[in-house]
Subunit: 341 residues, 2 copies
């Protein structure tokens, strides 16, 4: 049954060494999987570790090795609501899950936008071995610079050229947006509006570009565009503005499912049927799209896998292994009732 927790002080490496009858160096080697330890000695040490319940002291190890075994998850403050976005939430989850399998620890850092220097100091102050930056915000530029000093992996491509040379994991937003728009075109829709995302974020810019390419490629007009901030509320408002133009609209592509869900409400308000009057498609593949009425056709992003990929990339970067600057994850068009009757 439940064994008692001995409130003794944490056993040290030295105690393990004594019990195993070897030196501290040997214990250290075993703990660090050094290949140069005789099997016999190794097992003796292992036994001592087990019976003592020894756990290496992180601080001491970090101090001696000059590595922290910590990676920061940088979340810009304004994006602290990052967690309100299911896509980001999944990315974080994927990264955390991957790291929990490694020796690394995940440090959540809320980057105050008022005092960016504080965050920089923290990151560069030898507190972490690397950083993961999740957010599509424009304000994240400042962290790009860290890249030359500290390994940093971004979620999503950098917005500005200045950040070139960054390591990042992303999906091909342009191609994916083109694909979903093409789906709408193939359905015979002609007046396809776009609810774009903020144009200070790559996801906003690229999805607009993809939509535009598909529209032009099909010889359709590409002037029905309204911008939103990726929230359901803005999606609804953008949809209303679009409808208020009084021009024909038989389909809408919203830059994420949250806005698409908002658009759905706005359409319902105006008594328009989906997909009868207007077909609606989103992006992300989150539960907003899954649970909306009707469920949304969307571009599924492998969000958890993306987070994992970011973490893996960072770990390899820290280890000094060669790493491709860019990793593109695949997307998938998921057709649901919002575009097909």
């Amino acid at each position: 049954m439940t064994s008692e927790i001995t409130p003794t002080a944490a056993p040290t490496l030295e105690e393990v060494a004594a019990l195993a009858g070897v030196s501290r160096s040997t214990v250290s080697r075993v703990v660090n999987n050094s290949p140069h330890v005789k099997a016999e000695a190794a097992s003796a040490v292992q036994r001592a570790i087990d019976t003592l319940g020894y756990v290496p002291n992180r601080a001491a190890r970090s101090l001696a090795s000059r590595k922290t075994q910590v990676v920061a998850l940088v979340v810009p403050e304004s994006t602290a609501k990052v967690f309100a976005d299911p896509f980001f939430a999944s990315v974080v989850q994927g990264a955390a899950l991957y790291l929990s399998e490694t020796e690394y620890t995940l440090n959540m850092v809320i980057a105050s936008e008022a005092t960016p220097e504080k965050t920089r100091r923290y990151l560069l102050g030898g507190n972490v071995d690397g950083a993961l930056v999740v957010s599509h915000h424009s304000g994240d530029h400042s962290y790009a610079r860290l890249g030359s000093t500290l390994p940093v992996v971004f979620g999503g491509r950098p917005l500005s050229a200045e950040e070139d040379g960054s390591y990042f994991v992303d999906v091909d937003n342009v191609a994916a947006a083109r694909m979903v728009t093409q789906h709408l075109v193939d359905l015979g829709r002609q007046d396809i509006a776009l609810i774009a995302g903020r144009q200070d974020m790559p996801a906003g810019v690229d999805r607009l570009e993809g939509w535009r390419q598909a529209m032009r490629g099909a010889g359709l007009h590409d002037d029905m565009v309204e911008v939103g901030d990726f929230s359901p509320r803005h999606g609804a408002e953008a949809m209303r503005r679009l409808l208020d133009r009084g021009l024909p609209i038989d389909a809408v592509f919203a830059s994420n499912d949250q806005m698409a869900a908002g658009a759905l409400s706005a359409l319902r308000e105006r008594g328009l049927s989906v997909p009868g009057d207007v077909a609606v498609a989103g992006f992300d593949g989150d539960y907003f799209g899954e649970t909306s009425d009707p469920p949304l056709t969307t571009v599924m992003q492998p969000s958890t896998a993306l987070g994992q990929a970011m973490a893996e990339m960072l770990v390899r970067l820290i280890a000094g292994e060669p790493v491709e600057r860019v990793t593109m994850m695949p997307t998938e068009l998921v057709v649901r009732a919002s575009t097909t009757a």
Copy 2:
């Protein structure tokens, strides 16, 4: 890749001491806000710190002081989707925000349910000064025991008596559920069904209890209950099962907004109007309820404040200050269109 990463030589306390013309001890005192330093010396040190851009080395500090300045945010693996729940997301955000103002660092720990020992070892291995456990899961019992060895603050009351003596922050779920149910009663509704939450979580149990109290108090029957797992999907399924009973239902209280949103879809499927045919109320006050159609009457929980309170409680606990075992946060009934025409 020839993208070498060059760590800037972090200045040490010793260098600061040299530049300021004092001993390391004095620098240490200044850094730690000791009151026993002459203003003159203090400012000289401060100046040196600024010009050098000195940042204390956490590992060294931790090793010497035997404190880690780290608190763990324990997220049970199955609840890693915790981030998909806006309520939890806000709680985490609140805690992170509060801690970012302190000297503490937030360490995200995904607790694998397969190897709970690993997590225990980590937490008790001197890696953290305290832990925050967010989740309403039943499996969290295991962490309760830590309480006697490591300061731990839970989000939500413990489910079992075994965890008594835990420190936690919560809302009065029973009273809140009673309040929202009473609102439905006051509207003249008679056949008020409940979509309960998992009964292995306090939030599930307590909200059912509150509903039951209100129903009985009003002399109404309390047998229309179906259980869900707090997800929109389960909310919809529970609603369908309720309707399939073929008995009259003129109102539904769902134990969270996500399930209420699901219930809304199910009602729509069956051609029932809200609140005309059925009034619907939820719990949490998250964006599911805000953006649903119609918007949901709900019990607003101060989720971010709750997270902050947890963090604050933990910090005080670590500091050895006297702390109340329980902190109850206020809730508020928010009436929206889903219950009032």
